[in-house]
């Protein structure tokens, strides 16, 4: 099909699409007047039932935790897929991108940032049930901290961390841990993913039972996943520098 036809088709069909969308939206409740009930019911239940103050995370890791299990496995699958596609790291002696361009100041400040970012990421990971944050966000921040190692430390250390065989094990463990929390409920005779751990005091780091554990496992999965992801992309550029 040539471009003209394709564009013509796009504009006609796009106009229809816009029309369908807008006349449907006309029948939605007016903007800014969410009528409920789902969100309101959970908002009113979550703090009492789960001792979690961040309702969004209570939904993600508990009420609709099964969705998140699926989403986490989408992430896991994508990372396997990337590693599968970009496998075959035959060491080749290409010219590697030079890091001489980075000034010493950048390196030092990046090194200093590493610690701060890491702690911040871990904080976000572990306080998901209380304040905005949680495993997904914290995990990415932790991974970013390791990317700073790449900037600061001449790549070699980043490679040593990211290509360590334990990395993949940790990633799989992150994925498995979520499912294992679910299965552990089966072991005590409750349905999958039911909380059976004491809930603790609302507002405490160790409160909210399984939510905190699941959030941590998601954090592990996301952090290791993103590190593996960036390493897989960098692999070629990195391996040129081996000799």
């Amino acid at each position: 099909m040539n471009v003209k036809w394709r564009l013509g088709m796009f504009f006609i069909a796009g106009a229809c699409f816009l029309f369908f969308y807008l006349i449907a939206a006309r029948n939605l409740p007016p903007w800014g007047h969410y009528p409920g009930p789902y969100g309101d019911v959970i908002s009113s239940l979550a703090v009492y039932q789960r001792h979690a103050t961040d309702v969004v995370n209570a939904i993600d890791y508990d009420y609709r935790g099964f969705d998140t299990l699926g989403e986490e496995f989408i992430l896991f699958t994508s990372i396997i897929g990337v590693m599968l596609l970009l496998r075959d790291p035959k060491p080749r002696g290409g010219t590697a991108e030079s890091d001489e361009g980075l000034s010493k100041t950048v390196k030092v400040s990046a090194g200093g940032l590493f610690g701060i970012t890491l702690i911040f990421g871990l904080y976000i990971c572990t306080h998901g049930q209380l304040t905005p944050g949680g495993g997904f966000q914290g995990g990415v921040i932790v991974a970013t901290a390791f990317m700073l190692v790449y900037i600061a430390e001449n790549l070699r250390r980043f490679k040593a961390i990211a290509s360590h065989p334990l990395m993949e094990v940790l990633e799989a463990l992150g994925a498995a841990l979520y499912a294992l929390v679910g299965v552990s409920a089966l072991a005590v005779g409750l349905p999958f993913l039911t909380n059976w751990i004491p809930l603790g005091t609302t507002g405490d780091v160790f409160s909210s039972g399984t939510i905190a554990i699941i959030s941590a496992s998601v954090g592990l999965e996301v952090a290791t996943g993103f590190i593996l992801l960036s390493y897989t992309y960098l692999q070629d550029i990195v391996s040129g520098r081996e000799e």
């Binding site: 290409g94 010219t95 905005p132 997904f136 966000q137 921040i141 990317m147 992801l229 960036s230 070629d236």
Partner: protein, 87 residues
């Protein structure tokens, strides 16, 4: 509040279109990063701090980073192929 919200949404509509219209992929990635940041602001504005946080770290940083890495890798391949061809 209502006017600011609508303005933000319109800004997003315009910048979304700009991202798509940018044909050079490197500048497009930068545009995407900016666009992601704008979305994060919108999430904050509309009372979604959780999503905003994940949008900042993913949409504005991690995702453009991954795209940049992919582009860098392809450029690297081209370069090394070129040097191999020259030898």
């Amino acid at each position: 509040m209502k006017i600011a919200g609508s303005f933000l949404l319109l800004l997003i509509a315009v910048s979304g279109f700009m991202v798509v219209r940018t044909r050079d992929v490197t500048s497009q990635t930068l545009a995407l990063s900016f666009y992601g940041l704008l979305l994060a602001v919108m999430f904050f504005f509309f009372q979604a701090p959780d999503v905003a946080l994940s949008q900042i770290v993913v949409g504005a940083v991690a995702l453009p980073l991954i795209i940049m890495l992919a582009i860098a890798r392809m450029k690297h391949k081209e370069k090394s192929k070129g040097s191999e061809g020259g030898q």
